[in-house]
C-alpha cells in the first residue's frame, strides 16, 4: 500500500501556466513548506488583502485549528477576523450565509469531513441556491474548507470522502488541491470567487512538502482547469486530491516495470469539471482509468467514466475503468489499507485495458475470459 508523501508531485511543475508566469517574476525565495503551511499562508494573505474576509470555525483561534491551518491568524488579525464559534456546524455555515448577505466573504472551517454533515442543509438549501433564488442579487462568496479522505489512521468519522454529495448539488464549486503550490493558489482563488466553493483538503497531504514560495494566485489557473501532471502515451489516469501521489507512483512503476507510459491528469476542480483536458488526453491515449478514494457506486468516477464514454467512444481501445474505495462505510484504521486505492490496484486496472488482441476476441475487462 502506498503512503506517498506527494513529494514527487510537488517536485514537478504545477500547472501548464506556471513556467511562463515564473519567468516573468523575479525569483521569490523558495522554502520547504507543507501543504498546511501553504493553506495557512493563503488565509493570511487573503485576510490581509481583503478586509471583508472572515475566518470562522471550531478551534481556529488560539489552537490554530486541529491541523494548524489557521495558526496565528487570530493573533495577527484579531478575534473578529478569525473567530472561534460555538460548536455547531449548521450554525457556523448559517451565520456565514447572513454575513455573505451583508457583503462579507466568510471562510468556514469544518473540523473534519464527517463533521460537516450537520451543515449540509444550509449548504444545499441556501448556500448553493441563494444566487439562483434571488436572480443573482445575493451571491454567496463563501468558502467551506473541509479536511477530507483517509490514510491518516483516523478512527471512525475522521476519514470520509464526501465529494460526491457536494458534486451532486448544483450551485457549488468543488475544488481539491493535490500539491503545495495548488493548495495556496486554489484557496486564494476560492476565497476571491463570488460563488460558494467546497474546498476539500486532502488530510494525508497536509504534511506533504515542496520547495515553494507564495506565488500570485494568477500563476495558478482559474478554478475549473485540470492539468496534466505526467505526460504519457499509453493510457490516462484521471484523478484528484489525495489519489494524485498514488497515481504518480503507479505511473513511475508502470514505466519501470511494465513499459507503459501513463499520462496522469489532476482535475483540481471537480465542479466545474474540465472536460476538455480529460477528453483531449483520453482521445490521445485511447485508454482511461479513473482513480479516487470515495466509494465507487454513484461516485465521481461514474460521472467521469460516462462523460469520457460519451465524448471519446470512437477513440477508446477499452472500457473506462474505475479504481475507487469499496462501497463500504470507511474502515477502521487498521484495515484502511485494504480499502484505499494503491499502486497495485491501479496497475491491475491498467493491465485490464485490453492490451492483447485476445481481449478483443472474448476477454472481459473484469479479468478472466468469457
Amino acid at each position: 500500500m502506498s503512503t506517498a508523501t506527494g513529494a514527487s508531485v510537488n517536485a514537478g511543475t504545477g500547472g501548464e501556466a506556471a513556467p511562463a508566469a515564473e519567468a516573468r517574476r523575479p525569483q521569490a525565495a523558495r522554502k520547504p513548506s507543507t501543504m498546511a503551511q501553504a493553506l495557512n499562508r493563503a488565509l493570511r494573505d487573503s485576510l490581509a488583502e481583503d478586509p471583508s474576509v472572515h475566518v470562522l470555525g471550531e478551534d481556529v483561534g488560539a489552537l490554530g485549528g486541529v491541523f494548524r491551518v489557521t495558526d496565528g491568524l487570530t493573533k495577527e488579525f484579531g478575534e473578529d477576523r478569525c473567530t472561534d464559534t460555538p460548536l455547531a456546524e449548521a450554525g457556523i455555515l448559517g451565520t456565514a450565509v447572513g454575513m455573505a448577505m451583508y457583503g462579507l466573504r466568510p471562510v468556514v472551517e469544518m473540523q473534519f469531513d464527517a463533521f460537516a454533515y450537520p451543515a449540509f442543509e444550509q449548504l444545499v438549501s441556501h448556500v448553493s441556491r441563494m444566487r439562483n433564488r434571488t436572480r443573482g442579487r445575493l451571491p454567496m462568496p463563501i468558502t467551506v474548507r473541509v479536511p477530507y479522505g483517509g490514510g491518516i489512521g483516523g478512527v471512525e468519522h475522521h476519514s470520509d470522502s464526501s465529494e460526491a454529495y457536494y458534486m451532486a448539488t448544483p450551485g457549488l464549486h468543488v475544488v481539491t488541491p493535490a500539491t503545495v503550490a495548488d493548495a495556496y493558489g486554489l484557496l486564494r482563488r476560492s476565497i476571491a470567487s463570488d460563488d460558494p466553493v467546497l474546498f476539500l483538503e486532502p488530510k494525508r497531504l497536509y504534511w506533504s512538502k515542496a520547495d515553494w514560495s507564495p506565488e500570485q494566485p494568477e500563476s495558478v489557473p482559474e478554478i475549473g482547469r485540470a492539468c496534466v501532471r505526467r505526460a504519457g502515451t499509453s493510457a490516462t489516469l484521471v484523478t484528484y486530491g489525495p489519489s494524485l501521489p498514488v497515481c504518480m507512483e503507479a505511473a513511475e512503476a508502470a514505466a519501470r516495470d511494465e513499459g507503459w507510459d501513463l499520462e496522469v491528469v489532476d482535475l483540481r476542480s471537480l465542479v466545474p469539471f474540465d472536460e476538455e483536458t480529460v477528453v483531449e488526453s483520453v482521445r490521445r491515449t485511447g485508454r482511461a482509468v479513473v482513480v479516487h478514494e470515495s466509494a465507487g457506486f454513484a461516485g465521481p468516477g461514474g460521472e467521469l467514466a460516462a462523460r469520457i464514454g460519451e465524448r471519446c467512444f470512437h477513440y477508446l481501445e477499452a472500457p473506462v475503468l474505475r479504481v475507487s474505495g469499496f462501497d463500504i462505510p470507511y474502515p477502521p484504521p487498521m484495515l484502511e489499507k485494504h480499502h484505499l486505492p494503491d499502486v497495485d490496484r491501479i496497475l491491475d486496472a491498467v493491465s485490464r485495458l485490453q492490451w492483447e488482441s485476445e481481449w478483443r476476441a472474448g476477454g472481459t475487462p473484469e479479468g478472466g475470459v468469457r
Binding site: P86, A88, A90, G98, M99, S125, G171, P272, F273
Partner: protein, 390 residues
C-alpha cells in the same frame, strides 16, 4: 428529598473553574402574555388608527391571496389570517436600514414593510423563487425550510455590527420551527455574539396538524430564551398595540447594543395550514370559533370605537382602501407572468460552466423548435384539432 426535588445551597466551595454566570430571573417571561388593548392603558390614538388600517388591509390581503389560489393564480398560499397583528407589528418595528427575515407564512410582513405584493408572491405563484431584491428591500427571501433563516439573521446582524453599522435583524419563525436544531443554534450564536437580532416566534398553536403540546414541554416558548442567556417575552399576538410595543422595545434594545431577545406572540392560525390543507381532520370548529372572539382586527376596532376614535364612516373608508389594494393585486395577478426559461441557467454560478453552457444551448434549441412549430403555416389548425380531440 432528593436534589432533583429540591435544590438548595451547599455551603461548600464550588468546583475550581465554576463561577456564577448571570442571574436568570430578569430573562424569564411573565406568566401571562402582555396585553394593552382593553386594559385602559394610555395609548397613542394615531398609532392605534394606523395599526387598524394596516390590520384591515392585511386581512383583505390574506383573503385576496387565498382567493387567488382558487383561481389558479397562486400555486399555494399559507394564510396569516388571525395573525395580522404580529405580521404588521414586525414590519413596523424596523427602521429603513434594518433587515426582516420572514418565513413562507410571513408574506404580509414583507408587504407591510412596503414591498410590492406581486413581487412578494412570486414564490407562491411559481414564476421565480424570490421575486424581490433582498438587498434593496432589506427583506431576506421567504424561507421555506423551517428555522434555517434564523442563523442568517444572526450572521447578518453580526456582520453589520462588525462594520459598525446601525442595523437590527428581526427573524420570524413558527412554534413548530422552534423544535428545529437551527432555532437552537441561531439563538445560541446570537447570544454568544451579542448580535443585534430579535427572534419573533408566532405561536399559532399548530405546525400543520401538530399542536404545541407535542412540540415542547417548555413552560412557554419564551422561556427558551433563558437557556441561551437572552430575555424571553410573552405577548398577546392578537393585540396589535402590545406586539407593536414589545417588538419595538426589543428592536431598540438590540440597536443599543444590549443583545438579542426572544418574543413569543401567542396567536392562532384561523385558516388551514395552506389552501391545500384540511384542518377539520385535527381540530374542533369550536376552538376556531373561540379564537374568532379574540380576532386581532375586531379587538382593535372595538378599542377604537370605545375610545371614540373610529365611527362607521371611518371604518367604511378603511375598508375601501383595503378593497382598492385587493383590486389592484387581483388585476395584476390575473395577468400571466412573463416567463424567461433561458434565465434558468443565468444565476447558477457567476459564470456558466461548460456543461451548463451546453445544456443552455439544448434548451435554446428546444424553445426555438417549439416557436418554429407554432409559427409554421397550418400550426393554428393543428393546435385547434388537438384541442378538439381532448
Amino acid at each position: 428529598m432528593t436534589v432533583l426535588e429540591q435544590s438548595g445551597s451547599y455551603h461548600l466551595a464550588p468546583p475550581p473553574a465554576w463561577r456564577p454566570r448571570r442571574d436568570p430571573a430578569p430573562l424569564l417571561p411573565d406568566q401571562e402574555p402582555y396585553r394593552l388593548l382593553g386594559t385602559g392603558a394610555q395609548l397613542d390614538g394615531d398609532l392605534l388608527l394606523e395599526l387598524y388600517g394596516r390590520l384591515v388591509r392585511g386581512r383583505r390581503y390574506n383573503q385576496q391571496a387565498t382567493a387567488l389560489t382558487k383561481q389558479g393564480r397562486l400555486a399555494v398560499y399559507p394564510s396569516s389570517t388571525g395573525q395580522e397583528a404580529a405580521e404588521v407589528a414586525a414590519a413596523m418595528a424596523l427602521r429603513e436600514q434594518d433587515w426582516l427575515f420572514p418565513s413562507y407564512r410571513d408574506t404580509l410582513a414583507a408587504v407591510a414593510r412596503g414591498l410590492d405584493p406581486v413581487e412578494v408572491l412570486s414564490l407562491l405563484r411559481g414564476d421565480w423563487h424570490s421575486g424581490y431584491d433582498p438587498r434593496a428591500s432589506r427583506v431576506a427571501p421567504l424561507s421555506t425550510p423551517l428555522a434555517t433563516q434564523l442563523p442568517h439573521a444572526v450572521g447578518l446582524a453580526h456582520a453589520a455590527r462588525l462594520k459598525g453599522d446601525d442595523v437590527v435583524a428581526l427573524a420570524m419563525v413558527g412554534d413548530g420551527g422552534t423544535s428545529e436544531g437551527d432555532f437552537h443554534e441561531a439563538l445560541n450564536f446570537a447570544a454568544v455574539w451579542q448580535a443585534p437580532v430579535v427572534f419573533l416566534v408566532q405561536n399559532n398553536g399548530f405546525a400543520i396538524s401538530v399542536p404545541l403540546a407535542k412540540q415542547t414541554a417548555a413552560p412557554s416558548l419564551a422561556h427558551k430564551g433563558v437557556g441561551y442567556g437572552m430575555p424571553g417575552r410573552l405577548v398577546d399576538g392578537n393585540d396589535a398595540a402590545a406586539v407593536h410595543q414589545v417588538l419595538g422595545e426589543a428592536v431598540e434594545r438590540a440597536r443599543r447594543g444590549e443583545g438579542p431577545s426572544l418574543v413569543e406572540a401567542v396567536t392562532y392560525r384561523v385558516d388551514a395550514h395552506t389552501n391545500a390543507d384540511d384542518a377539520t381532520r385535527y381540530r374542533e370548529a369550536a376552538e376556531v370559533e373561540a379564537w374568532r372572539e379574540h380576532d386581532p382586527v375586531a379587538l382593535m376596532e372595538r378599542e377604537l370605537r370605545s375610545r371614540e376614535l373610529l365611527d362607521d364612516e371611518g371604518a367604511r373608508r378603511t375598508a375601501e382602501s383595503a378593497e382598492e389594494m385587493a383590486r389592484d393585486l387581483r388585476e395584476r395577478m390575473n395577468r400571466d407572468p412573463e416567463l424567461q426559461p433561458m434565465e434558468l441557467f443565468e444565476h447558477v454560478f457567476e459564470h456558466r460552466t461548460p456543461q451548463l453552457e451546453q445544456q443552455a444551448r439544448q434548451l435554446r434549441a428546444e424553445l426555438d423548435a417549439e416557436h418554429d412549430a407554432s409559427a409554421a403555416p397550418g400550426a393554428a389548425d393543428h393546435s385547434g384539432s388537438t384541442k378538439g380531440d381532448s
